[in-house]
Amino acid sequence: MKILVALKQVPDTETKVKVAADGKSLDPADVKWITSTYDEYALEEALRLKESKGAEVTVVSLGGDSVKDVLRNALALGADAAVLLKSDASDPLAVATALAAYAKDKGFDLIFAGNKGMGGDNASVGPMLAELLGIAQANVVVKFEVTDAGFRAEREIEGGTEVVEGALPAVITAQKGLNEPRYASLKGIMAAKKKTIEEVEATAPAGATAVIALVLPAARPEGRKLDGDAAAQAAALLNALKDEAKVF
């Protein structure tokens, strides 16, 4: 079996993000970059299939040189090969198109990805990739198995679980709960340093959408201290709730 796992490098959720001077992108200073958590579930599922059924796992990511950290980490965890698609595309359709162009005709039986990229939260690349390749898809998957006929997946839907079956090849997007990702072994870390990351110029079209503004949530107003004795404070609080917050 041949498996492709698409990985995205995203800012660590603990990073205090700042908007860059252009008003529409992140200021990269002081940002710690990590693999999107949902993509970690995707990779772990591929590695488990490799161990249980035998598979060759290739990881792919779009971006510049910094993305190599994500790919190197995936190699340390057990991926067999890594490909960097050099591109500065960030629009979901452009990314999906570039991934499809790479994956087409390579004979992948399964393509795993996170159900969304952490932070961007578009949840678009996986479904678009399946459509562009004209293959089956199952999204927001919390349980997955390869069957004789193809695959069986449990999807998280509003208020319940949906079970879908389909034929391979297919795109599967992972949700939290699918598995518990492993840590890299020291052996894996050492071995990953010796593997090469293939670099390919990506063929990404112009984006279908463009970010025009990025705005941080408004800062929370400072608290206000009510003065006076208990009765005066209660009266002031009542007024504030009624006239300012318009609670009633």
Binding site: Y183, S185, L186, K187, K193
Partner: protein, 379 residues
């Protein structure tokens, strides 16, 4: 900067830090309170390669260098010194002596499962009335058909009750004094090996330390480590590495105490300003930083020398003496900076203060380290 770390060393340190912060730290306080051995964490550390770090891959280890091991140990000690000592004992005084003195068969049989984390190991030198004074050992090995029978008592055995293979010193030829001590690999599952209940310790409460009674415990001729009479050599070799490991553990604990103190000094207010703006606290923090930095350099220097195969008895003893005494002092100041909160079990510095105390005692007390250092200077 000294030392300039290689990319590999940094990658291993980061991997250790990542696992420590995400997996070891969260339950550390609860395990301390319940004196619960972290079996699951030790198993995972084994799978990742942290239980036999410098052992070649062919014998189940990770095959990394000694400084990488020390860096990893320091990171783990920062979050849980009990996990660190369990790991240190397995690496430094169980795996290392078998790697250096073991036969090919011993390496296959004992080192592989120890280094891969399949089983835990330890080191049985200390007795109720003999520790660093190895010549006073009483545990006796008597020759029998096909092997030896061990009789005696061993004390303060880390990983006792949770470990399986122990590098064990016993007197084979009493008439030869120190030269009559031999080392064996003892399988704790053999009849006649009695592990007592874990000691009720002040600190390192989630690591296990026991008294062991040996009653006609059998070891085969093939389990003799090195030649007959090599026991002291095996023990001392293990101790050099053990001392650097404990010194690294002390640096980790001290760094954590310092980090906690800095964070507290920023947020705790007295007399209208953060206590970090009071000069008394500043002098403590500065002195703590100086001692931690100096300790770390001593530990890394000893580790590098050991890695290069140079004799490092003096450097290991110096590093252990200074790093552990400093760490005890640093943790004491951390409790002082925290005031009443530092005395509360709800704050991590309280645990650090208890955990660090044993570092000037085990793997040779500070008094013994001073003897080792002075002997090296005067010889």
């Amino acid at each position: 900067m000294f030392p300039a770390f290689t990319e590999d060393q940094l990658a291993i340190r980061d991997a250790a830090r990542d696992f420590a912060v995400n997996e070891i730290e969260p339950g550390a306080m609860a395990r301390d309170h319940a004196a619960e051995f972290p079996s699951d964490i030790i198993r995972q550390l084994g799978e990742m390669g942290f239980m036999g770090m410098t052992v070649p891959e062919a014998y189940g280890g990770a095959g990394v260098d000694y400084l990488s091991y020390i860096l990893a140990l320091e990171e783990i000690a920062k979050v849980d010194a009990s996990v660190a000592v369990t790991m240190s004992v397995n690496n430094s005084v169980a795996c290392a002596p078998i790697l250096v003195f073991g036969t090919e068969a011993q390496k296959q049989k004992y080192l592989k499962p120890l280094a891969s984390g399949e089983v835990l190991g330890g080191f049985m030198l200390t007795e109720p009335d003999a520790g660093s004074d190895a010549a006073a050992l009483k545990c006796r090995a008597t020759k029998v058909e096909g092997g030896w029978q061990l009789n005696g008592a061993k004390a303060w055995i880390t990983n006792g009750g949770v470990g399986r293979y122990f590098v064990t010193m016993a007197v084979t030829h009493p008439e030869l004094g120190k030269k009559g001590i031999s080392a064996f690999v003892l399988d704790a599952e053999r009849p006649g090996v009695h592990m007592a209940k874990p000691e009720e310790k002040m600190g390192l409460r989630s690591s296990k330390t026991v008294m062991v009674t040996l009653e006609d415990a059998f070891v085969a001729d093939d389990d003799l480590l090195g030649g007959p009479g090599d026991g002291l050599k095996v023990a001392l070799h293990g101790l050099d590495g053990g001392r650097i490991g404990i010194a690294a553990q002390a640096v980790g604990i001290a760094q954590r105490a310092l980090n906690e103190s800095i964070a507290y000094a920023r947020t705790r207010h007295s007399f209208g300003k953060p206590i970090g703006e009071h000069q008394a606290i500043q002098t403590y923090l500065a002195e703590m930083e100086a001692r931690v930095q100096a300790s770390r350099l001593l530990v890394y220097k000893a580790a590098i020398m050991r890695n290069e195969g140079q004799p490092c008895t003096l450097e290991a003893a110096t590093a252990k003496l200074f790093a552990t005494e400093s760490a005890v002092w640093v943790c004491d100041r951390a409790v002082q900076i925290f005031g009443g909160y530092g005395y509360s079990r709800e704050y991590v510095v309280e645990r650090l203060y208890r955990d660090v105390r044993v570092t000037t005692i085990y793997e040779g007390t500070s008094e013994i380290q001073r003897i080792v250092v002075a002997r090296s200077l005067l010889k």
